[in-house]
Symmetry: C2
Subunit: 292 residues, 2 copies
């Protein structure tokens, strides 16, 4: 049931991404193609799934918020395009396919990222089933999480840390920004859209923080013990690039224990929710066994 719901909702998201992309089409075809290429290149659709599941946990059908869920996936897609650029991580492959700039060139890749980020906010304004006050709160969640105090800030710490041994606290600050902030925005936004009360929102925020932590630690572990074919990208890139990770700063075993503890904490944060939060419980446990 868990895997099926995930699959069905990911399909809904993918369908809606195309609908939104076509509503106000790009002035120029190559730009449109580049946006579509990265947006429709698969992926787990984890952030939209989390947004919808958080609404479910507050007993409102998450599919009411498919528009906002699509918007957060656009922000994720933009961030991957820019992260892969030659001036950044200089990656040629992502999910087993050539990266955006390898197909469309660097200039168009930069613009496709810019356009997807901007489109996310346009799409957000189209979210129905919710009051303008609440929608503004969600726009604030998204913009704060994606910007200099969140995702972009985390990427900047990452760049400045290249080739240096960094402390555990810098590593944590980097990941809270780079991946944690957007997970948190997804979950909090789903809860806010569904009209969560402050106790529910606080509990889901803790869940989100622990989810982000478990995601990052398991990501670092996969870069060591993962399978290239499943991941769609080379393993061992962190070690090759001298990157500090949860594994290099501790050990594989310690990292596994830290991941388990984060998952336990995430599940514990949901103790006052009923079966309507089962999907979130399953999802965070899935991180421990994931192979991509």
């Amino acid at each position: 049931m868990f895997k099926n719901l995930w699959k069905n909702r990911a399909a809904l998201v993918e369908k809606n991404l195309l609908v939104e992309l076509n509503k106000n089409p790009a002035l120029e075809k190559k730009l449109f193609d580049a946006m579509k290429y990265s947006l429709m290149s698969g992926g787990k659709r984890l952030r939209p799934i989390l947004l919808m599941a958080a609404a479910d946990a507050v007993k409102v059908n998450g599919e009411n918020f498919l528009t906002a869920a699509s918007a957060i996936e656009m922000i994720h897609a933009y961030s991957l395009i820019h992260d892969d650029l030659p001036a950044m991580d200089n990656d040629d492959y992502r999910r087993g396919k050539l990266t955006n700039h390898k197909v469309f060139g660097e200039a168009t890749a930069i613009l496709a990222g810019d356009a997807l980020l901007t489109l996310a906010f346009e799409v957000l304004t189209r979210q129905e089933n919710v009051s303008p006050e609440i929608l503004l709160k969600v726009i604030k969640e998204f913009s704060t999480a994606a910007g200099a105090a969140g995702m972009v800030g985390g990427q900047s710490i990452d760049l400045e840390s290249e080739g240096k041994k960094i402390s555990m606290s810098t590593l944590q600050k980097m990941h809270l920004g780079k991946t944690g902030a957007l997970f948190k925005a997804a979950i909090r936004s789903g809860a806010i859209l569904a009209g969560a009360n402050s106790m529910q929102l606080d509990a889901l925020t803790i869940y989100a923080e622990k989810f982000g932590l478990a995601f990052q630690i398991t990501d670092d572990i996969l870069d060591v013990i993962g399978d290239e074919k499943n991941l769609g990208k080379p393993v061992g890139s962190d070690a090759k690039n001298n990157k500090s990770t949860y594994v290099t700063l501790t050990s594989i075993d310690t990292a596994k224990n830290l991941a388990q503890a984060a998952v336990d904490d995430a599940v514990d944060a949901l103790k006052n929710f009923g079966a309507e939060a089962d999907f979130l419980r399953e999802l965070v446990k899935y991180l421990l066994g994931r192979n991509k």
Copy 2:
């Protein structure tokens, strides 16, 4: 009075840009410095000035909307950083100063642009003196204008047109996106924030379109007959880069006539407004005599 009001309001905008930049500071210092460098590097502050002047024209003090005015300047600043990148126009100087990537490196320049674009939407959510419904309309204006159907789309046409002779209609489409869309969003947003009725909004939209046209034609003329010291960048770059412009597709004299006609049309669009639209009338006439 016209020049003084412009100067005073530009100073208000600059003060507020710093306030907004510091409200939710970047996680990483170099990123913050890069954002501040471009945001505070001068310029005419034309888009915030237009936003405020459009509110004035509807008899609401434009300074009530300083927050939204600052947000649109952030979008403009981001677009300049990304346009100057090596993969785009590869410019070393802007307003007589080194471009962002020449000072901070390409990766940080990309991120500083990303962060300023995102910050614009965060800042917009902080605009007071207005209902959530109206603020959502303004977020829609900004995001539509800045994205693939507007500014980014225009830049993409520009890239794809490099070294080619393009038609007048492609040139117009490019500029409607690249510069026109954001001018229009500035003016329409000021009017919407001030509660303009639909007749006022329609008239100001025509003014905005003619303003954008006059701006672009005079920009093309300045690239031929302007003074490098005033402009803060080399002249003759359009010819050097084989760019089609209003001057290359017609002649200096025809371009001057087209600019004059656009200014006349812009002033004419304001015929049902009183003295409260005098600033907008002066501003579009100023374009004809500008030297930077």
